[in-house]
Amino acid sequence: MTIRHHLSDQLLMAYAAGQLPEAFNLVVATHVSLCDECRARAGSFDAVGGALLEEAEEISMGEDALARALERIEGLPQATRSEPLKPAGIFPAPLADYVGGDLSAVRWRKVGGGVRQAILPTSKDATARLLYIPAGTAVPDHGHRGMELTLVLQGAFADENDRFGRGDIEIADEEMEHTPVALAGQDCICLAATDAPLRFRGLIPRLAQPLLRI
């Protein structure tokens, strides 16, 4: 698998700083699970946090803090290394965790035109959802404000300029106008996050409508 569309430095730094809404965190963690390049970049931003922590002024802990900590670890077993959970399906671990399983565990709702979606439970400051777009169908038009991330998990979609396959992430802002279409061959499944709650507009007949935007 060759990933060609990656996370931005801004998103990776915000992720390392712990400043992303939960829905965006999920998309970033899912992409990083599939992408060593972004895993390494995320690690370099974590190191900035490490340097800031190291160089920060100290604020004294309470007098008995160390004694309390030693007492606490006394009864605290150290975890031992276990084999990391490697999901067998198309969802990397962080996503499988939110869904509660793989594809078969998703509770899809029809949104028309053969497209289905499932909203995932996250904090309200942003929305994460899975999208199921039948092969050859346009990605539904849903107005959004702010930033939208779309990560392909299965199949592929393409717009005028580019193709996005498994692992690829598309970063769109509200000005972006394009008409992505799920490519023929395999139904396309994406994980998407939007800044504001999404507002699906009335579904427009697919394919007949050339001017769609995501």
Binding site: S8, D9, Q10, L11, L12, M13, A14, A16, A17, G18, Q19, E22, N25, V28, A29, T30, S33, D36, E37, R39, A40, R41, G43, S44, D46, A47, V48, G49, G50, A51, L52, L53, E54, E55, A56, E57, E58, I59, S60, M61, A65, L66, R68, A69, R72, I73, L76, Q78, A79, T80, R81, E83, L85, P92, A93, P94, D97, T122, S123, G146
Partner: protein
């Protein structure tokens, strides 16, 4: 090119906002170099990991707990919440020591990630999705050169941070202390992150190769 003395003067001349970098480790105290930063934190954490060494844990606690507390307070936690969370972070360090690999990240970076996650939990009450764990545990005998490189990164980055113009450094601090939303964060840090990325990338390539 600045020579060492010029660099020192430049550093001294920079305003030092609360919570900015300290220069203690590079200043002479009573004619002796301060030794705090010479402590091999990775070695201590490996002792915690492999031998449940309580003395090593105590040394790590004395160094990192007050910094974690400061980090959390600057991120908006009150003193007592920050104290409790710092306790939690250090307990997590004990419990999850088996995940620490000194060839992957410095102790400061590792502690930072635990503290950040605890902060998200405590202050934002949100979950944080973590990337899939890789099939790489700490190697029994990691390459010492790799370990040293990973451990020295924090100090090198600290120096690079100190050398940044104050406004740029402040922006980075504000991002990490939660004062900027994700859309306000400027990703251009001016820090030499490429070398760190390359090191981690190489380690990942090596791992993938081993896994075949």
């Amino acid at each position: 090119m600045l020579d060492a003395r010029d660099a020192a003067v430049t550093e001294q001349a920079l305003p030092l906002p609360l919570g900015s970098v300290r220069f203690g480790s590079r200043q002479k105290k009573d004619g002796l170099l301060a030794t705090t930063d010479d402590t091999d934190w990775a070695d201590l954490l490996v002792k915690v990991r492999d031998h449940q060494d309580r003395a090593a844990f105590a040394a790590l606690f004395r160094h990192f707990a007050p910094r974690v507390k400061a980090f959390l307070m600057k991120s908006g936690a009150g003193a007592s919440l920050a104290e409790e969370c710092a306790q939690d972070v250090m307990a997590t360090l004990w419990q999850k020591a088996h995940l620490f690999d000194p060839a992957r990240a410095s102790v400061a970076t590792w502690v930072y990630t635990i503290a950040r996650n605890r902060r998200i939990d405590a202050l934002r009450k949100a979950r944080r999705a973590e990337p899939e764990e890789l099939d790489w545990g700490p190697e029994p005998e990691p390459d010492q050169a790799e370990v040293m490189e990973a451990q020295e990164e924090t100090e090198r980055l600290g120096r690079a941070l100190a050398a940044l113009p104050a406004p740029q450094r402040t922006l980075i601090e504000r991002a990490f202390y939660g004062e900027l939303s994700h859309s306000e964060i400027a990703a251009e840090t001016g820090l030499p992150l490429g070398t760190i990325k390359s090191r981690i990338r190489l380690a990942l390539d090596k791992l993938r190769h081993q896994l075949g």
